[in-house]
Every structure is written in structure tokens, then in C-alpha cells.
């Protein structure tokens, strides 16, 4: 039965997958069958049959894991000695980690603002134009591909060749610099601007999301409001500033906070483009390095907890705004 754990051929892998699905179907089917048999079953038992397995998985996988990680963050690198808040102190005071925190802050501020702004402008300019659908799909496609794929696409844009007579640039951005008479740059290794060039990738991905949600919100603005404003003499930019933006404020907040959370947890892009070198590290990447490369479980746990704590206010704000808009409705 070794193939169940270590399938080697394609056939074994697919068999493995089918076994997993079949096992799952049999177990859940049995639970539901048992609870459906007798005429009178107490409600709590039925609820347990329906929600028991998912709740168990959540308690085990998320609640328990989070508590263990919190506990580990107060211990040393291999969990043998209690160190109090030393790991947190290290994360917030050592230069290397301060840089990581500063970079994360730059990501969380720049990405949501720029992606939302560009997405909003694009949504407005293509709204009800003849090519709306195709134009939107173009901006939206980066959202469907992996961040690893996106990173490779952009690494190629940033590709650098030394400026010598016989060598042609193969990266588009450096070629543009050469065309306008400037020196080619090593975009990914020149501090501090390299973080900004990584951020561009995330903006490229997230703009499609912002555009889609905001476009739906714009289309939901009632006709009569738009017409009334037009009769009052508003047009072009005035319409955008005084009618469009205030009307879609709730959607704007959802988009900003959602992108901020994504930017806070950014890992794939940094890892694929620079591996966190050249001063581009962020919290999620540093967590991975500490946990699985440096084997410093204490510090890794502390970084994970920091990430957790930073997410909470953003989501809390998001939920409060959602509540407010629901009350208005």
C-alpha cells in the first residue's frame, strides 16, 4: 500500500486522488445516512452530523495551531527555553528585521492606493464603451494567473545586461532606458528602489480586482442621480468627484482593505523575484526563511503572530463598514 502515501507513477497518483475522494464521500455519506435513518433525531445531532467534521477541522487546524504558534513565540529557536518577549524585541529592534517591517508597511500603503486608483480610473473610462468587455478582460487576466507566473513575467521586463557595444538589452524596461539615452539599471538589486519595482508586480495583479468590483459598483449607481447631476451642470471630472466616488464609497473601502490584506501577506512575489535579498524582505517571506531555512521556530512564530495582529484591525474595519452599508440598505 506504499503508493497511497508515496505514489510514483501518474497512474498511482490519480488512483491516490480517487481513493481520497471516495474515502471522503463514503465517510460523509455514512454520517448523513445514519442521521437520516431514525424518524426522531434531536436537532443538535443532525447539526453535528452536518457541521461536525468541518468544525473539528477548523478547531484542530486553525484554532489549535494559532495557539501553539502564539505559545512558541515566547520560546527560543528550538522551543527548549522560555525567552519572554525576546523574539518580538528582536523583530522590532534589529536593523535587518526593522527593514522587513518598513518594507511591509510600504507594500501595505502603496499597493492598495495605487491599484485602487488605477482600477477606478480604468473602470470609469471604459464604462459603457464599445470594447468594455475585452478591455476589462485585458486588465483582469493577471488576477487569474499565479503570482509566481506574474513574477517571472516581470523579472523578464526588468532583465539587465551591462551596457556594452555588442550587447543588446533583452529586458523591455532597460531597452526603453537605452532608447532614451540613459544607462540600463539593475532594478531588482539596487536599494531602496527595488522594493518599489516588486510592488509594481502586485499592483499589476490587483488592479483587475479593484476594477471589477468598482465597475460593478459604478453600474449600480441609480440613473436618476446621474441625470439630476447632469441637469445641474455637472460633467466629466465634476461627475467623477461629486457623484461617482461618493456613491461607491463602500465598495472603495472593501477594495482598499482587501488589497491591503493581500499586500500584507505577500510572499510569492518577493520569493520568486529576489528571494528577499537586496533589502526586499517582507514579514511573510522572513517568516518562511526563519521557520524553514534558519530553523528559528521562536522568531518565526513571533513573525507569524505579528502578521496575525496586523491583519485584525484591517478586517475589523472592513466588517464594520460592511455592517454600516447593510444598515443603510
Amino acid at each position: 500500500m506504499g503508493w497511497l502515501l508515496n505514489p510514483t507513477t501518474t497512474g498511482e497518483k490519480i488512483a491516490d486522488m480517487l481513493v481520497a475522494i471516495a474515502l471522503f464521500v463514503v465517510v460523509m455519506g455514512l454520517i448523513l445516512y445514519l442521521v437520516d435513518r431514525p424518524r426522531r433525531v434531536p436537532n443538535w445531532l443532525v447539526a453535528l452530523a452536518f457541521a461536525g467534521v468541518p468544525l473539528l477541522l477548523l478547531t484542530y487546524g486553525l484554532v489549535r495551531s494559532a495557539l501553539i504558534t502564539l505559545w512558541n513565540s515566547f520560546f527560543n529557536r528550538n522551543g527548549t527555553a522560555f525567552v519572554g518577549f525576546d523574539n518580538y524585541k528582536q523583530a522590532f529592534t534589529q536593523g535587518q528585521f526593522q527593514q522587513v517591517l518598513v518594507n511591509t508597511a510600504i507594500w501595505v500603503i502603496l499597493v492598495p492606493i495605487l491599484a485602487t486608483l488605477i482600477g477606478l480610473v480604468y473602470a470609469v473610462v471604459v464604462d459603457r464603451s464599445r470594447f468594455e468587455k475585452a478591455a476589462k478582460a485585458l486588465i483582469f487576466i493577471p488576477m487569474a494567473i499565479s503570482m509566481v507566473g506574474a513574477s517571472i513575467i516581470w523579472r523578464f521586463v526588468y532583465e539587465f545586461r551591462p551596457n556594452q557595444p555588442n550587447i543588446q538589452q533583452t529586458g523591455l524596461l532597460n531597452q526603453v532606458l537605452v532608447w532614451i539615452g540613459l544607462e540600463p539599471q539593475q532594478f531588482l538589486s539596487t536599494q531602496p528602489w527595488n522594493t518599489w519595482f516588486l510592488i509594481v508586480v502586485m499592483i499589476w495583479i490587483q488592479t483587475g480586482f479593484a476594477m471589477t468590483v468598482l465597475s460593478a459598483a459604478i453600474k449600480a449607481i441609480p440613473d436618476d442621480i446621474v441625470e439630476a447631476a447632469r441637469l445641474d451642470g455637472l460633467g466629466g471630472f465634476g461627475m467623477f468627484r461629486y457623484i461617482t466616488v461618493p456613491s461607491i464609497r463602500p465598495a472603495l473601502i472593501v477594495v482598499l482593505t482587501t488589497i491591503a490584506i493581500t499586500a500584507l501577506k505577500v510572499f510569492d512575489i518577493v520569493r520568486t523575484m529576489t528571494g528577499g535579498q537586496f533589502g526586499t524582505g517582507v514579514v511573510a517571506n522572513e517568516f518562511y526563511t526563519q521557520a524553514f531555512r534558519q530553523n528559528n521556530q521562536g522568531l518565526a512564530s513571533a513573525l507569524a503572530v505579528v502578521l496575525f495582529v496586523l491583519v485584525i484591525p484591517i478586517i475589523a474595519y472592513n466588517v464594520r463598514q460592511l455592517r454600516k452599508t447593510e444598515e443603510v440598505r
Binding site: N6, I68, A135, I139, I145, I153, W204, G235, T272
Partner: protein, 308 residues
């Protein structure tokens, strides 16, 4: 019946058309603005060029890739001296990068990691929406709140358990982990969809003597197909595109495509013939899913987008 439908349809169409027309006329002023068109075209070009560049590169012979930029194919095209090749893809799939194997792995990982959490979430969502039991609201809020837990917090404790159980590195660890991580959002979204179904439908089935299991399968499932499709696509893309979970839990032979391609980027960052083809091999499936099911995908996105 058909005659009635025929009578009604044109009227509805006419009203719709006139409303659309009104909007079109109202917005005409803005659309003809050259500034707006200019911005739209500029952004569309900026967003497309990077992918186009790598796509063109993936079909160029490796010597050409090293010698000149991909844009040089445009003048070359007119002189008829451009050569395109599938060699890079052949190398990436069958050569020593063996992306073909990882392609299979990605499917093997993704299908159960979509089917299992969605089924579990549907059952749980039903319990929260239609079964009356004590502590229901508190539990539901608790599940909703779990969305804030970042994956990073759970990785190390889960990995330790998998090692103790002796299943580390296998597909089972990724299936379990992805299922757990998907549940909070899935339960929340599917619960919202279930709540929208009229109570009278469920009550009527109950009066006819249907138990919870029958109500779930006979009444709710058929109505929930679009919602399931939306979330299913969302979860499919999320798992297929995931790097962190795959990287943490799988052993070398079980890696998904994203991890394999990311490793190529790390170890052979300069070999663009391999990287460009590899990147597009990893993107083909999400692109097809996206283009074919764009409508559902967008709906899933609009319904709820906090994930990770």
C-alpha cells in the same frame, strides 16, 4: 403559452433597449473625450506588454532569446527572417525540468482540494442556515472570525503533526491543509447564498415529510449550483496558483507546478527559454478556466474576496 411569451418579449426588449439607449446617450459626451480613450489605451497596453513579451519569448529559439529582445521579432517579421519554435516547451515538459510530472501533480492536488472543502462547507453552511440548534449564532460568528487567521500561523504546527503521523510530504497533507484553510470563507459565503433561498420552499418540503438530508440534497443543492460554481472556480484558481502551502508540505516528487516553476526561477534564473515556457505551462489551465467561466469567476469575486 408561446403566444403570450411572444407578445411579452418584444415589449420587455423595447423597454430595456430604450433604457440602455438613454444611458448610452447620457454618457456619450464622456466617451468621445480623447483623454479618456488615451488613458484606456495606455493602461491596456501597459498591462498587456509584459505578458506578451514573455509569451513571444517562449516561442523563440534560445540563441535568439539571449542575443536580442523579443520586440525585435516585429521588424524581423516584415523581413521574413523570424523563426519560432516549440523546442522550449518540449524542453520544459520532457527535458530535465520535467514539468510534465508537476503538471499531473497540480491536478492531483487541486481536484480533491476543491471538492472536499466545498462539500464540507455546504454541509456546515446548511447546518448554520436551516437547522435550529443551541449556540448556532455564536459558532457561526466564530467560524466567520477565523477568516483573519493567516496561513503562516498554522503551517509549523500542522507540519509537525504530519511528521509525527508519518504522512509528511504526501498529497494527503496538502489536501487536508487546503481544505482547512478554505473552510471559513467557504462556509461564510455558501451560508449567505443559502439564506437567500425562500423559507417557504424549505418549509414546504418539510411538511411533505422530508428530513434535513433530503431537504439538503433535493431542495437546496439544485438551487445552489451557480453559487457552487462561483466558489469552486475561485478555490480551483487559489489552489492551483498557491505557492506557500505546496512549498511547505510537499516532498520533491509531489510538488505542484507553481513550486517547480518557482524553483526553476531560483536555480536557473538566466535560462529564459526554460523559464518563459515553464511560466506559460503553469498559466495555461487558470487562463482557460478564467476565459471559459469568466462570468462565474467575477461573481465569486464580487461575493467575497478576503482569502489567505
Amino acid at each position: 403559452m408561446t403566444t403570450v411569451d411572444d407578445d411579452v418579449a418584444p415589449v420587455v426588449a423595447k423597454q430595456k433597449l430604450s433604457r440602455l439607449e438613454r444611458r448610452a446617450i447620457a454618457t456619450k459626451g464622456r466617451l468621445s473625450s480623447p483623454w479618456a480613450s488615451g488613458i484606456a489605451i495606455l493602461l491596456a497596453v501597459l498591462w498587456t506588454l509584459p505578458s506578451l513579451g514573455l509569451l513571444v519569448t517562449s516561442f523563440r529559439p534560445s540563441l535568439d532569446i539571449r542575443r536580442s529582445g523579443w520586440w525585435t521579432v516585429i521588424p524581423d517579421l516584415f523581413q521574413g527572417k523570424t523563426a519560432f519554435t516549440l523546442e522550449n516547451y518540449d524542453q520544459a515538459i520532457n527535458g530535465n525540468a520535467t514539468l510534465g510530472t508537476f503538471f499531473v501533480n497540480s491536478f492531483v492536488i487541486t481536484i480533491p482540494a476543491v471538492v472536499i472543502p466545498i462539500t464540507l462547507a455546504l454541509l456546515a453552511a446548511y447546518a448554520f442556515a436551516w437547522i435550529d440548534f443551541k449556540g448556532r449564532n455564536v459558532l457561526f460568528v466564530a467560524v466567520f472570525t477565523l477568516q483573519v487567521v493567516p496561513l503562516q500561523v498554522a503551517l509549523v504546527p500542522l507540519l509537525r503533526d504530519y511528521i509525527q503521523l508519518g504522512i509528511n510530504g504526501s498529497f494527503w497533507t496538502v489536501w487536508i491543509s487546503h481544505s482547512i484553510f478554505a473552510l471559513p470563507l467557504a462556509i461564510f459565503l455558501l451560508h449567505n447564498f443559502m439564506k437567500e433561498i425562500p423559507t417557504s420552499l424549505v418549509e414546504a418540503a418539510r411538511v411533505d415529510g422530508a428530513g434535513h438530508v433530503q431537504v439538503f440534497f433535493r431542495v437546496l443543492m439544485p438551487l445552489l449550483v451557480p453559487a457552487i460554481a462561483s466558489f469552486g472556480i475561485f478555490q480551483f484558481l487559489w489552489v492551483w496558483n498557491d505557492l506557500l502551502v505546496g512549498l511547505t508540505f510537499t516532498s520533491a516528487g509531489n510538488r505542484p507546478l507553481t513550486v517547480a516553476v518557482a524553483e526553476l526561477a531560483g536555480s536557473r534564473g538566466g535560462q529564459w527559454q526554460l523559464l518563459s515556457a515553464g511560466a506559460f505551462i503553469s498559466m495555461v489551465v487558470p487562463l482557460v478556466v478564467f476565459l471559459a467561466l469568466q462570468r462565474y469567476f467575477v461573481r465569486g469575486l464580487l461575493a467575497g474576496s478576503v482569502k489567505g
